[in-house]
Symmetry: C2
Subunit: 242 residues, 2 copies
């Protein structure tokens, strides 16, 4: 027997209820691009990021707190909002000291699910903050669920790769009786020399979608480790760093 804490990977929000959320730290993973953008905005000095699940709610809260409203639908800035989902829209000179109200569909939904199921702690993970996530999980030494936001519940490659990257770095500290985690690790080991090329070769659906919008730089940034190495934690309706 082992005294190590457990680690599980939930490949889709539709699978989250299989795991013991209430006893775990849940890492929300939405690599392209919500959680990468959240890490970036906070790294660049945003006061906090408020994740909301609809454009209407985004506008409403934006007005109430004079925040920056952001979100896309079908690759365009959503009607009524000011900015999009790209991490490059949030450089320090723009976002410092401001509150970003961000509407995303998959990531926000998963985050709210984790909260409803009573997650001990909710943090967000992406390659730009890979080390911060790993350091935190290692230090806490508690049960972990790596929660992939996926795409309308469909499993995606990039969120799985991030789960694999975390497991590759700190998996030995956990007891992992979870095929999804072992699959994620095997995929990451196969991909990690050039994840961009891996996404292309394996026809990742988001790769195609974002390339069609001319967003190659976004993809490359979102697959690169530690460009915005902070740990967003959910606290009272907001994502903040210490």
């Amino acid at each position: 027997m082992t005294n190590k804490p457990s680690l599980h990977t939930s490949l889709s929000p539709a699978l989250l209820n299989l795991y013991d959320v209430s006893n775990s730290i849940v890492v929300i993973i939405d690599v392209l691009r919500a959680t990468s953008t959240i890490a970036t905005a906070l790294y660049n000095g945003a006061k906090c990021v408020i994740p909301v699940d609809s454009v209407t709610r985004c506008m409403e809260i934006g007005r109430q707190i004079e925040g920056i409203t952001a979100g896309e639908r079908d690759g365009q800035i959503a009607e009524g909002l000011e900015y999009g989902n790209s991490p490059f829209e949030y450089p320090r000179e723009f976002i410092k000291g401001k509150t970003l109200v961000l509407t995303t569909t998959n990531g926000t939904r998963l985050l709210h699910m984790a909260l409803e199921k009573g997650a001990k702690e909710v943090v967000t993970g992406s390659f730009p903050n890979l080390s911060a996530v790993c350091d935190h999980l290692q230090e806490k030494n508690q049960h972990v669920i790596l929660g992939c936001a996926a795409w309308k519940d469909r499993v995606n490659i990039e969120d799985m790769l991030f789960a694999g990257a975390v497991i590759s770095r700190i998996g030995k500290q956990f007891s992992i009786n979870c095929d999804s985690s072992h699959i994620a690790l095997a995929m990451y080991e196969k991909a990690n020399k050039d994840m961009f090329a891996f996404m292309k070769k394996n026809e990742a659906s988001h790769y195609h979608r974002l390339m069609n919008f001319g967003l190659e730089d976004d993809i490359r940034y979102c697959l690169t480790a530690d460009g915005a190495n902070v740990l967003p934690r959910y606290e009272d309706g907001k994502l903040v760093i210490n």
Copy 2:
């Protein structure tokens, strides 16, 4: 645009509702060991296999039709049934001309879900009947859903590997806009030289479970292509071959 039929992989019964089942051939995949045993029994001359979801129902139908009742719970023949889940229990000299009433949890549940959602056709797939499945799908040239039975809704490695094997052989004939399928293919390509070793190395949960019951031979057989190369089709409550 393409005129090819689509192919999707559903990694867990909990994800099946994301796909257009009513318009597709659904392949039920439960590699360790339900669908391997079904192919084997039919290959060895069983009249048909009746998949049922509970031990009680298995006993009931077994009595009504004087069939062979089979099924395991926690690695033991379930109380009240006669045989277990191993393909080796069904050699020709025993099973020829008989009806096998088999209770499995994951595979049977998925099969009934596919029927309820109005699948065009339901067949079962496993490595022992890999070629028969591929030939059939290729010939039919219709939309396909590769449905992994998984383990209590948790994604497993071996069912994903079988999906990958099918895609590796006939994927080019289909339009595949499905990350799960691309992941399955990438995993299969990584594993296919020695799938047994891959299962061991990647700590597949069923590998451990069955090894603990002393069932290495079962695992090896269930990971070997074409040992029982027939196509079980679901028809009026039974799985039959032509």
